[in-house]
């Protein structure tokens, strides 16, 4: 195995947080890939943008609120977070509604970024 080989990994998140296990599973895989010093990008589009909505209160559904973990990603050197503008707009949201700082991109800017990746994983 090549020593120090870094690949560009993109995690594409398109599902809302608590209706299925995808969002939480994605977060776990992101943390694993960060531990291997890869170039990690996270993308949130469609209902995936709801993962980052501020103010999640999960006590009533007896489920762990994992949204604070997105704020901890920077501690693992995961700092490339991208959100699609059209997905925010379709849900009446803006970057100010999100729990972390993100880069808001147009649909095609996101597509171009996706083209550059070595590995794309979808959740």
């Amino acid at each position: 195995m090549t020593e120090g080989a870094t690949k560009k990994f993109m995690f594409v998140n398109r599902t809302a947080p608590y209706g299925s296990v995808y969002a939480l599973e994605s977060l776990e895989v992101v943390l694993i890939s960060a531990a291997f010093d890869q170039d990690v990008s996270l993308v949130f589009l469609d209902d995936g943008v709801y993962q980052l909505k501020k103010g999640q209160q999960t006590k009533g559904i007896e489920t762990k609120n994992f949204s604070p973990a997105y704020r901890a990603l920077a501690d693992y050197d995961v700092e490339k977070l991208y959100v699609e503008q059209a997905s925010l707009a379709a849900r009446g949201l803006s970057a100010a509604d999100l729990i972390v700082d993100v880069t808001v991109l147009t649909s095609r800017e996101l597509g171009a970024l996706m083209d550059e990746q070595d590995v794309v994983l979808s959740f």
Binding site: V12, R14, L45, D46, E84, A86, S107, R108, L110, G111, A112, M114, D115, Q117, D118, V119, V120, S122, F123
Partner: protein, 98 residues
């Protein structure tokens, strides 16, 4: 880039998201996404328009299973499982729109 879609475009937005985000490349329709390859659906106009910037391919066994083999939109090509593997091998990267 190879974009693989496996959900019906009439039930889910996976194909719509792919068409909105991706600028070009190849789209491979498998499983319930092969309904997008059929003539006469509500999404046919979007698929025909997408043929201008994508190569669109449908998996023949999935078309056959759904009795769609005789109504594939002109310009959409088909592959068997070996062709699926070839498509993956000939593209540098791929994205699965789940």
């Amino acid at each position: 880039m190879l974009h693989i879609v496996n959900k019906s475009p009439l039930e889910r937005n996976a194909l719509a998201a792919c068409l909105r985000i991706a600028g070009g490349g190849t789209i491979l329709l498998i499983e319930d996404a092969v309904y997008a390859a059929a003539r006469g659906t509500a999404v046919e106009p979007q698929v025909r328009e997408a043929l201008g910037r994508f190569r669109i391919v449908a998996l023949q066994p999935d078309l056959d299973a759904r009795a769609l083999g005789d109504r594939v939109i002109e310009g959409v090509t088909t592959v068997d499982y070996a062709g699926f593997v070839d498509l993956v091998a000939e593209h540098r990267n791929c994205q699965s729109w789940l």
